[in-house]
């Protein structure tokens, strides 16, 4: 009898452990591709922020060339995507993207903001695609970005705006503070994909991300808790002896 009780107890503990792990895993709904994104909580509110501004031109995809995060949910089909956005601290040409329908880091649509030192000057709808599908994944610069529609704007840095993207069949519209600034008809009906944010040469602050399909919320994050997975590499200094050992290994 005691044996059975022990087995039941062990199984219960295991199930609780697995459940907790799955629950924790589901908390992380973003994957950092590049940059230094974090959920910031101060006394009044919490929000998503990219802290580095400078991006590095690894050139494997447009997203790694910016500072980008992508949703771990890769099957988001939506009719309306909305979030608040503040762009700050521009350095040279500031660029910000809210991207969607991403099936790859090189294949996505996006609403792009660009600005100079004094204000945000342009909003565009862009499409990124693979340039040559016969090349291996590690080929650099193997992507092509097409501007589908563009509009001149005059938006201020440091001021929060509400960005809304609506999709109705193949029609896409971009609204800033509920006023339409741009629209375009796509050549294809969007099948869904990941969503995300990317920026370079500026600090974006993002909050209250809600994605609807009709009236149903299919994805949301109010950035009230840490939700970003990041790649960490660990390194250490080699001693002269270790360097010699490595040399010997390589020469073998």
């Amino acid at each position: 009898m005691k044996q059975y009780q022990t087995i039941v107890l062990v199984l219960t503990v295991c199930l609780i452990g697995i459940g907790t792990t799955l629950l924790q895993a589901s908390d992380f709904i973003w994957q950092q591709i590049s940059g230094n994104w974090s959920v910031v909580t101060d006394n009044k509110e919490s929000y998503l922020k990219e802290n580095r501004s400078k991006a590095f031109n690894f050139d494997y995809s447009p997203l790694i060339n910016c500072n980008a995060i992508i949703s771990t949910n890769s099957a988001i089909v939506f009719t309306r995507l909305t979030h608040t956005l503040t762009l700050d601290a521009p350095q040279g040409t500031a660029t910000y993207l809210t991207f969607f329908n991403a099936t790859d880091y090189r294949q996505f649509y996006a609403v792009q903001f660009t600005g100079n030192d004094s204000c945000i000057t342009t909003i565009s709808i862009i499409q990124s695609d693979i340039k040559d599908t016969t090349l291996p994944k590690q080929a650099k610069g193997n992507f092509i970005i097409t501007t589908l529609a563009s509009s001149d704007v005059h938006l201020a840095y440091g001021q929060p705006y509400t960005l809304t993207i609506t999709i109705n069949n193949t029609s896409i519209a971009v609204l800033v503070d509920n006023k339409q600034v741009l629209s375009h008809t796509l050549n294809e009906k969007l099948e869904g994909g990941s969503i995300g944010f990317a920026s370079k040469n500026c600090i974006p602050i993002i909050d209250n991300c809600k994605v609807y399909h009709g009236s149903t919320i299919v994805f949301e994050d109010d950035f009230s808790k840490e939700s970003i997975r990041k790649i960490i590499l660990k390194g250490k200094k080699l001693t002269p002896q270790e360097i010699e050992e490595q040399k010997k290994k390589q020469n073998k």
Binding site: Q24, F28, Q31, Q32, I33, S34, G35, N36, K54, F56, F58, Y60, S61, L63, I64, D104, Y105, R106, K137, Q138, E226, R229, K230, I231, I232, L233, K234, G235, K236, K237, L238, E242, I243, Q246, K247, K249, Q250
Partner: protein
């Protein structure tokens, strides 16, 4: 006249020797050894002060070329293919428990990257 020639040669030799000495002292070199188990495609030191890159990545158990660096302090980032695409990761250095690293001027140092993980 011969004396002047000898003195001139000695002075010239001293200048050349001092010059070589100064160059050696100023050159700081850095290399990386990949022991992470996965290929590492690019390593960037101190905001693009120096970059190591190779088409198919530095395979596990290989060392990058040793390169001259100008910055003696900075952070290290690297790119790796995580299956769904190339991502950038920050290298946390054991000695400093941070992504920051200080080099000794004139030294030639080798650091190893010995693990890749997804945090948390």
């Amino acid at each position: 006249m011969t004396q002047y020639r000898i003195i001139t040669i000695i002075i010239a030799s001293l200048i050349v020797t001092a010059g070589i000495g100064c160059t050696n002292d100023d050159t700081t070199e850095l290399a990386w050894f990949n022991a992470a188990g996965n290929p590492i495609n690019d390593i960037i030191w101190a905001n693009d002060d120096q970059q190591w890159t190779t088409e198919n990545g530095y395979a596990d158990q290989t060392k990058t070329e040793s390169k001259k660096v100008n910055a003696l302090y900075g952070i290290v980032i690297a790119s790796i293919d995580e299956g769904s695409g190339f991502r950038e990761g920050t290298v946390i250095i054991k000695e400093t428990s941070s992504s920051s690293l200080s080099l000794h001027e004139g030294s030639s140092e080798v650091y190893t990257i010995d693990s890749v993980s997804v945090d948390p």
